[in-house]
Symmetry: C2
Subunit: 247 residues, 2 copies
């Protein structure tokens, strides 16, 4: 048996999310079916995170145990050939220790959120950005973001369905930058609550268009109350960028 680490890119648009839900279209099921077809084995793919319907990944990490001997090249090529036409691509494959776990060994996760500020809607990036369609104040957003960095009770920014044991998380960084007609929000933490990045982004959006002050973002955090949430941003603009592991 070999435990393999997979690095996965996917377009979340056609999926109900990462996590398997019976035979509904999910990224996990798509990869499991491809590996099952290659190996004839009953395998389970474990992801570093569970992205929601419509959320994309540039570099999701996952692992899978396979009995059949094969090279990393052949495994990657085989999955990529068999996963079609689903928009999933295995970017890298690497043999890891038997106790390495995509979720539990992970020490850092990074997300990107893309907001489109121009008034005309996206044609090429439909489903890939949150179309706010208004000029946004990046400095105010950055000021608001700074209130959230560090260790806090993020109850306000947590989905009612969140399964995390505690609402306290350490947000290592939350950067806001303008890239042409887009605002990019970069979030990094050891782990995130369910909907945390989308909820934070929704409120940063309110700050960006002047509906909230940076101080109101801080007040929302301190409230520790889901009803203090201003707005949950749509899944379209969210990308799981990278999972980090000890060397």
């Amino acid at each position: 048996m070999t435990r393999w680490k997979l690095t996965v890119e996917y377009d979340g648009g056609p999926f109900l999310g990462w996590q398997r839900q019976g035979n509904d279209p999910t990224v996990q099921l798509a990869i499991e079916r491809a590996i099952g077809a290659m190996t004839g084995e009953q395998i389970v793919v474990h992801g570093a995170g569970r992205t929601d319907a419509g959320v994309h990944a540039l570099g999701m990490a996952a692992h899978v145990d396979i009995e059949k001997a094969m090279t990393p090249f052949r495994l990657r090529e085989g999955i990529n050939a068999l996963v079609r036409p689903d928009p999933v691509s295995i970017l890298a494959v690497e043999a890891v220790a038997d106790d390495w776990h995509a979720r539990f060994s992970c020490t850092g996760r990074r997300y990107l959120y893309r907001i489109l500020t121009r008034r005309p809607p996206p044609a090429l990036d439909r489903g890939r950005v949150w179309h706010v369609g208004k000029e946004m104040d990046v400095d105010a957003m950055a000021e608001a973001a700074a209130h959230l960095v560090g260790t806090h009770d993020f109850t306000t920014f947590r989905s009612a369905h969140c399964q995390s044991a505690s609402p306290v998380k350490s947000l290592d960084s939350l950067a806001v930058e303008r890239i042409g007609e887009e605002i990019h929000i970069h979030a990094a933490a050891r782990s995130f609550l369910h909907h945390q990045v989308r909820s934070i982004t929704g409120c940063l959006g309110l700050v960006g268009i002047g509906k909230w002050t940076p101080a109101e973002m801080k007040a929302a955090l301190v409230a520790k109350d889901r009803t203090a949430l201003g707005l949950n941003a749509p899944p379209d603009g969210l990308y799981f960028v990278e999972a980090r592991y000890p060397a």
Copy 2:
């Protein structure tokens, strides 16, 4: 009557191309239907170029004559609301002189071609890049491209269906650059032959992977023979970037 210039972004994926073909899905028809629904007028939209099926636009230019009086803002918003769900977005609208013509007044056109060199296929950029999947020699490609710049008989790089009166065109620039895992080819000319950018790109691809030398690109040009064409690149990676007009 007002003549309006439209600047249009579109995802060419679901279309048979720009040019109307009865009721088949084309970009021209999608925009004409939206304007027809807004105005109740029988109008025709004229584009600066005719992109093929699967070719995208970041800034196609077009014009249309409309009797009904309206503001540029209302025209743009109205088209963008009514063109849904087609992946077309009117980026800008501007009143122009009655003798201004999107095609005949155009003095310069720019295209971008995106090649993905990494081995794993694209998931998020499927249909948006040409997946060559091999490392490419950008310097050799640039050397080959230099042979094509200037005024030449481009018969080799011309579709059998090309309606241009002459195969002689002046290619103002043809730049090749590496952007991460992609090669970008930027082409600028007053006008292009049908399939010219895709045919040039296909041959540059052969040079990039070492199947052709830069000298063979020059030989293909000099042959003035369509059968000397090495490869026609797929439409997926091609973007109409901009049409230029006299100030």
